[in-house]
């Protein structure tokens, strides 16, 4: 439906196409449903649950000792803003899988954060260079309100899939909703197909 008298301001024009319904944001807004989680690098630990085979964990020093990747990417938040050309540094999730010696037969996984946040993802969406455990944003340590000291990024999906204060991963035979996915938000969340809410 045409909006009478609306022509679009399009302030500042994005350097390339952004997904439908998004607007170009030059800042970095914060979206969290509760207070900022306080996690020190000393307390931070990332665990992959290996089911019957136990688990494998990495601490802060171990994270920094892993092969580091610079990630230059666009971020799309379901609350409509898109941040282009952001720079992150961290470790490809494939490297964690490799070090844990895991080649999951399950199709899905649940990511969990310090503080209890959860989000679900297909395993295929975090393999082959599509997801990262990051500790730097624009050359600086990640601020706590943006998920620091360590968060996950899965840039090709809406940003709620990129868990702040990442704590663990567990594999699942079947897909199950995480926090926002239980609250009306899409199970997959592809911004280019505008999968914001249930049924999109």
């Amino acid at each position: 439906m045409l909006s009478r008298g609306f022509f679009g301001v399009r302030r500042p024009k994005p350097p390339r196409d952004i997904p439908p319904g998004q607007y170009y944001e030059t800042g970095f807004p914060v979206l969290t449903y509760g207070p900022t989680e306080r996690v020190s690098t000393a307390d931070w630990k990332f665990t992959i649950d290996l089911g019957e085979d136990g688990s494998k964990s990495w601490n802060w020093d171990e994270l920094l000792a892993m092969p580091q990747t610079d990630i230059h990417t666009d971020i799309h938040c379901v609350t409509k803003w898109s941040m282009l050309d952001s720079d992150w540094k961290g470790v490809d999730l494939d490297v964690f899988f490799e070090q844990a010696g895991v080649d999951p037969s399950e199709d899905y996984l649940m990511v969990r954060s310090f503080g209890g946040y959860t989000t679900n993802l297909p395993v295929s969406d975090v393999r082959d260079g599509k997801a990262f455990i990051v500790h730097e944003f624009d050359g600086e340590p990640i601020a706590p309100e943006h998920g620091g000291p360590v968060r996950m990024i899965v840039p090709h999906l809406y940003f709620w899939k990129s868990a702040k204060w990442v704590e663990s991963i567990r594999f699942m035979d079947q897909d199950a909703p995480g926090f926002w996915e239980s609250n009306g938000y899409h199970m997959y969340g592809d911004p280019w197909r505008e999968q914001r809410y249930w049924g999109d």
């Binding site: 045409l2 909006s3 008298g5 679009g8 439908p20 319904g21 449903y33 509760g34 900022t36 803003w81």
Partner: protein, 253 residues
């Protein structure tokens, strides 16, 4: 077609609502009363997405909190602050008139919602237009849950920036377990003996003491305001699980 649990079974479809009335709240805030073709119940704190379409097909969307309580049926109010370099809020303020049609879908939201059955004591902390979803909670409380001990701490730049001022005054004067405190961050009215600074740990500790206990806390406002208030509340001894936040981005238009 949302049910009262705030879940949206099936697809959230776009509806065309009609602007039924426009109320000037402050010099840069207006309330738009919308009548959708089918009215869906919601939980206080939820929002709607608004979509605008230009003649060349360009579309843009923003989210706006519902100001009315679910007890006000058939219509819903969106209170919109005009953001000078924004795209959607200036359209509403400068173009939209009564009778215009607006595309919207919702209601949306889960964690930042409160209903009377969730009880209290309830602490509401608003910064500027962050009052909007909290007003839905206050109106709902007044309709159905007056027994819930409630405190509203509302930070505004000045008295002229206070949204819903008369209604808030009336609610506070009803003397039914709702306490209220304003704080003014730029200019306080003459003779003002209340808070006149940004929300801080001391202020929230003070409010915490006046309320006695906190069952649920909802904080809404600009990014920095929410960050400060939420951290201060946790520092004052409130368990983080009891605190819910909603942040308007720096360019939240």
């Amino acid at each position: 077609m949302a049910n009262t649990e705030g879940r949206q079974p099936g697809k959230l479809v776009w509806h065309v609502a009609t602007v039924e009335s426009i109320t000037v709240e402050t010099y840069r805030v207006k309330t738009y009363r919308l009548r959708p073709p089918t009215w869906a119940s919601f939980r206080p704190g939820m929002h709607y997405d608004i979509r605008l379409t230009a003649p060349d097909g360009y579309q843009t969307q923003r989210s706006y909190s519902i100001a009315t309580a679910p007890e006000t049926r058939s219509v819903l109010d969106l209170t919109i602050e005009k953001i000078v370099d924004g795209e959607v809020s200036p359209y509403f303020h400068d173009v939209v008139v009564i009778g215009d049609r607006v595309e919207m879908r919702g209601p949306i939201g889960g964690p930042f919602t409160w209903t009377g059955s969730m009880g209290g004591p309830l602490l509401l902390v608003a910064g500027g237009s962050g009052i909007v979803p909290l007003m839905s909670m206050l109106r709902h409380r007044d309709s159905t849950a007056r027994h819930v001990q409630t405190f509203l701490l509302y930070s505004s730049r000045s008295l002229d920036d206070v949204i819903y001022r008369e209604e808030l005054d009336a609610l506070a004067e009803a003397g039914n377990g709702l306490q209220m405190a304003h704080t003014f961050t730029r200019s306080a009215p003459e003779g003002w003996d209340g808070y006149a600074r940004r929300v801080d740990v001391e202020m929230l500790s003070d409010v915490f003491n006046r309320l006695g206990a906190i069952g649920r806390a909802y904080i809404c406002g600009p990014d920095g305001f929410v960050e400060t208030a939420a951290n201060a509340l946790v520092d004052a001894g409130v368990s983080p699980e009891r605190v819910r936040t909603e942040r308007f981005g720096p360019t939240g238009t």
